[in-house]
């Protein structure tokens, strides 16, 4: 009896590249690589040839030249003498701003609508279904245009003028106009730093108190109240300090002057319109994810938790949600990604995001289409890849360990 012997070691033959599965993959890969290189080379040579024929060149010099145009909303200093590069950065920050705000409100809306769709209240459940279906099945561009038109219906600052104005400020503090929302701005006087510091310390104190309460609960089973004491720790010292320091924080209330409201904080219409449109639209998708997540949890989990004697609030927070979140979060993060990408439609409402500055006015003025669009794509790619990286890390962390 001979044991199994190794397969005969014959010398390598060319035909093995086609017939032998061990080597065939090399053949395929080589073919694929050659085809890819040929394709890319062909396209690139066409590009260079065409550019040369048209007398154009690829150059990023324009980024250093003054942009020459103004931007209504900037998070960093910017004048029309700043460079195109700086204008692009302003655009990038604006994109990130609206994406950040949008993600927060979309999540809130989505959770409400998702839970609402499962509500026992028939009317609320139906209303939420109508909301979700209406927004999921109509293109976001149409919604942006419609919501932008709706925001325009708010009274204009002119309506606040005159002896008997058509519109009045809300509580005398806030003005909702079709140019944006004007709100009081805090004015920091001398001594305000101490009040703020007190507040920050209170926040930290609340955090430690809660940790202590949990620890005590696990160690001894004794439950400390957390709600009211936290609130007290948070507010009382700061309020006391505010009066002790002689009320150092004032407010600057917006007032009508000239063409617009002056003073106070201003949230501009383009931002509001885009923010609303994106968060309502994305909220509908998140609602579906939330609903699916909650429904994905087996009823037995609820029943088991109930049989352990947990209250319904605790069933939700300790049993259902931790499991549902595992299902909900990945699709919700990809909704965040979609929201960020959809914010590129900002120009429809006049918001200057990166597509509006770099891919819009800069491209128009310089005519450098290839360069601008390449940079634009790179920017979005970087954001997306960073978000996907976060998502992958999260997925790996919460993945059920399969054995």
């Amino acid at each position: 009896m001979t044991a199994y012997s190794d397969p005969p070691k014959s010398s390598f033959q060319l035909s093995q590249l086609i017939h032998d599965t061990r080597y065939r993959s090399y053949t395929f890969q080589a073919i694929a690589l050659v085809l890819l290189l040929l394709g890319v080379g062909y396209l690139l040579s066409n590009l260079l040839g065409n550019l040369a024929a048209a007398g154009l060149n690829i150059s990023y010099d324009f980024l250093g030249k003054p942009a020459g145009y103004d931007i209504n909303q900037t998070l960093i200093d910017y004048t029309n003498q700043s460079s195109h590069w700086r204008a692009s950065i302003v655009g990038v920050l604006n994109t990130l701003l609206v994406a950040f705000l949008g993600c927060i409100t979309a999540t809130v809306l989505g959770v409400f609508a998702g839970v609402g769709r499962l509500s026992k209240n028939w009317l609320i459940a139906k209303l939420m279904s109508v909301y979700v279906e209406a927004f999921r099945n109509v293109p976001v561009l149409i919604w942006i245009l419609i919501i932008s038109t709706i925001v325009t219906i708010l009274p204009s600052p002119r309506a606040f003028k005159g002896e008997t104005p058509d519109a009045e400020m809300f509580l005398g503090l806030f003005a909702f106009t079709n140019r944006g929302i004007y709100a009081p701005k805090p004015v920091w006087l001398e001594g305000s730093g101490i009040v703020v510091a007190t507040f920050i310390i209170s926040v930290i104190a609340v955090f430690f108190y809660r940790r202590y309460a949990t620890k005590l609960l696990y160690a001894t089973g004794k439950m400390l109240p957390t709600g009211w004491p936290s609130l007290a720790i948070l507010l009382v010292p700061s309020i006391l300090m505010y009066f002790v320091m002689g009320r150092p924080i004032g407010v600057d209330i917006p007032e009508l002057g000239g063409f617009n409201f002056q003073g106070g904080m201003q949230l501009q219409r383009p931002l509001i319109a885009l923010w609303l449109a994106l968060s309502i639209y994305t909220g509908a998708f998140i609602a579906e994810n939330v609903r699916a997540g909650i429904q994905a949890i087996n009823r037995g989990q609820t029943e088991a938790a109930a049989s352990l004697g947990l209250r319904s609030g605790r069933i939700m927070s300790l049993v259902i949600l931790p499991q549902a979140l595992r299902v909900i979060i990945p699709p919700v993060i990809s909704q965040y990604l979609n929201l960020t990408k959809n914010s590129s439609l900002a120009i429809a409402v006049g918001y200057m995001d990166v597509t509006g500055t770099l891919g819009g006015i800069t491209l128009n003025q310089t005519g450098r289409a290839i360069e601008c669009i390449l940079m634009l794509m790179m920017f979005y790619l970087i954001i997306s890849l960073s978000i996907s990286a976060i998502m992958n890390a999260y997925n790996n962390r919460v993945k059920l360990k399969e054995r």
Binding site: G68, S156, F259, Q262, P270, I347, A348, M352, G360, G367
Partner: protein, 338 residues
């Protein structure tokens, strides 16, 4: 449904028509159609009517060139372009001629490698405000919110104007006239700015045009003209002289009404040369001698085109102003045909 994969392959096969970069004239003749870039819709200058026919002042230039080159003013494919896409459409050869109220500037002529073939409308950027604001001069606009129609040189002129006068403003850039208009009407902007001709056209469509005024300041020079790719001078010459023929025709009184009569021969040699009854001008630009006659017959002379599309009788209601003939104190001045 899955099988409509093949549709794509067919589309590729069916629609790749040849068009080389070098000799545009040959391409246009081979194709039998002139590809002309226009705006996506600006009343009076280029907009499709209810029947889908393109109408307007810029459109008339396209039709005149098509008539001169191909003998048929209807042999035009109109390619709608936005401010963003117009230059690449021209540079990549998708269109042969761009007639999209485009301002003639140094860098567009040189850096972007285009050739402006002349000016068909002398424009300037202006401001429109509601009468109720009581503003009479653009210099009183300190702190105002300004709606800008982007895509031309508008943003830059505006920034310059406010910087020179040392006053502040809040820009609201909007891509299309259709979206800027409700913002202005609802008071989300105090001021609407774009080329004065565009302002007039926009105001004409308002419910109460009388409630809005166009301020006297014109803050920029906007010579709007058709353009072609740099490098094909023969094609540039043809289009340039078609435009000149339209302007000259008005100067010499050639109209669509009397063109037949005049092409029988007149005692003015200049008219005869334009209409091709004298001299061999057509051969010099690679066309037959009747090119000028066809171009003018397509939509009339410059004055007729102006009056029909944007003149005072139309809703747009523009006065000739700078766009009058040089004899009437305007800037239109066609070089001699000889």
């Amino acid at each position: 449904m899955k099988k409509s994969v093949f549709l794509g392959a067919l589309t590729v096969a069916g629609l790749t028509a040849g068009a080389a970069a070098a000799a545009t004239l040959d391409d246009v003749k081979a194709r039998g159609k002139l590809n002309c870039g226009v705006t996506t819709g600006l009343v009076g200058f280029a907009a499709p009517d209810a029947n889908g026919e393109w109408q307007g002042f810029d459109v008339a230039v396209c039709r005149a060139v098509a008539a001169a080159v191909l003998g048929d003013p209807a042999a035009v494919e109109f390619v709608p372009t936005t401010g963003k896409t117009r230059f690449t459409a021209l540079a990549s050869g998708e269109i042969d001629l761009l007639a999209r109220n485009t301002t003639w500037t140094f860098s567009r002529d040189t850096d972007l490698k285009f050739d402006f073939i002349g000016v068909n409308y002398y424009d300037g950027q202006g401001f429109m405000v509601p009468k109720s604001l009581g503003v009479t001069s653009a210099k009183e606009l300190d702190g105002a919110t300004v709606c800008i129609q982007t895509g031309t040189t508008t943003e830059l002129n505006l920034a310059d104007f406010f910087r020179i006068n040392n006053i502040s403003y809040e820009p609201v850039p909007i891509e299309t006239n259709a979206e800027a208009q409700p913002l202005y009407l609802e008071g989300a902007c105090d001021v609407y700015t774009t080329d004065a001709s565009g302002l007039a056209a926009t105001r004409a469509a308002f419910e109460n045009p009388g409630d809005h005024v166009i301020l006297p300041e014109i803050i920029s020079k906007e010579p709007l003209g058709p353009l072609v790719r740099h490098g094909d001078n023969d094609w540039g010459d043809i289009t340039m002289w078609v435009l000149n023929a339209l302007i000259a025709a008005e100067e010499y009184g050639i109209t669509s009404a009397n063109i037949e009569e005049m092409s029988a021969g007149t005692n003015n040699p200049e008219i005869n040369r334009i209409l091709g009854t004298e001299g061999e001008l057509g051969a010099m630009i690679g066309l037959d001698n009747a090119w000028g006659k066809r171009a003018i017959a397509a939509g009339g002379n410059y004055g007729e085109i102006f009056a029909k599309n944007i003149g005072e009788e139309t809703p747009v209601g523009l006065a000739r102003g700078l766009n009058a003939q040089w004899k009437d104190g305007g800037l239109l001045y066609a070089p001699p045909f000889r």
